[in-house]
Amino acid sequence: MADQALLNALIELADDHNILSHRLAEWCGHAPILEEDLALTNMALDMIGTARGLYSHAADVEGRGRSEDDLAYLRVEREYRNCLLVERPNDDFAHTMLRQLFFAAFMEPYWQSALTSSDETIRGIAGKSVKEVAYHIRHAGEWVIRMGDGTQESAARLHAAMQDLHIYTEELFHASEAAGHCARAGLLPDRTDLRETWLETLTPIFAEARLEMPEGVPPQIGGRDGLHGEDLGHLLAEMQYLQRAHPGASW
């Protein structure tokens, strides 16, 4: 039971990073300026590194001979357990940066807390990721401020991104049965505890960006149960194409 819960919770976390990494990688060659092309793909690289560590650990915990690649490439949409926020389409640069900021502002206290996990591998992954995600917060935060406090056009786009995305943030604080079990066992942080730190990070940024988070709107959840939007299927079709077309292909 304990192993099954850890396996499931690791997969949720790995899926979050894998899917958001893929979304960022979609910008490769399409970013508005060269520096952003580098920045977005660098962040994607950090996140795929974290995902690999988590998938590998999940595969070890499972002990059935599946590899990190099997977990990433050979599960279908309903088996993916990422939160809905990370699968939202890139849309424009404002959506991409606000999505990144929402996620990074959550993951920073998450990894901070995971530094004291009772699982050594999780502590190792957390130690690395907590420093990388600090860069993601700064980078996305700077852009959110620049867009919100920028031109009419950039502010309008950022406000539209807020309307579209904020309903997906609540799910970050929901613990699935597996995640709840791991939190009680001291393996992973308690997601429900992190709201205050998340807001502490976001509030000064939104104040400078002259951006407000709407309140009282019902949240969208379901990713942890495998209930995804149509967009995830398209993403997986592209991500998994090679392994599906040529099973077992390797470098």
Binding site: E35, L38, L45, Y135, R138
Partner: protein
């Protein structure tokens, strides 16, 4: 036995970083230890960044260096405790500077430091009048800066 260990360490430690070839894996501090038992040399390596694409390449290069030195070689990846730029040796920092890469400035990575000022000295003329061009550079570990005194664009090895 001690001589064997020293020989294995010297072989592994001489491997250059593939992306920053002016420094070795020992200079960067990612070679944590080398142990020799019954003719098998085990090198313990810690990756710099989670997604560093050079990790597999470095492991292969160290393994090859140990084999060339006459050992059966084994690589063990150690992720805890995580690598930090503080592990770069003093010599490594000097080599980076001489190569044109500004070494990491301690304590410069705070998530609260939005638009924060990190004083990065130009590796060419040592001027502190420099500006950041991009937080992210040619590899995961670097940012791009420009010196406003001598005009030199340069890489800064980010502090993590």
């Amino acid at each position: 036995m001690v001589a064997e260990r020293e020989k294995a360490w010297a072989a592994a430690a001489s491997v250059p970083d593939p992306e920053v070839p002016c420094v070795t894996v020992a200079d960067l501090g990612i070679l944590r230890d080398v142990r020799v038992e019954n003719g098998v040399a085990t090198a313990f390596l810690t990756p710099t960044y989670s997604g560093c694409p050079a990790v597999d390449f470095i492991e292969l290069a160290v393994e090859t260096a140990l084999r060339d030195a006459g050992f059966d070689a084994r690589i063990e990846r150690v992720i805890s405790p995580p690598w930090t730029t503080d592990w770069i040796t003093k010599e490594g920092r000097e080599k980076l500077r001489a190569y044109g890469i500004a070494p990491p400035v301690k304590g410069s990575n705070s998530k609260r430091a939005l638009f924060g000022e990190t004083v990065v000295a130009c590796p060419r003329c040592a001027s502190e009048k420099t500006e950041r061009i991009s937080e992210f550079g040619s590899t995961a570990c670097k940012a791009q800066y420009r010196c406003t005194s001598c005009g030199e664009p340069f890489d800064y090895f980010k502090c993590i």
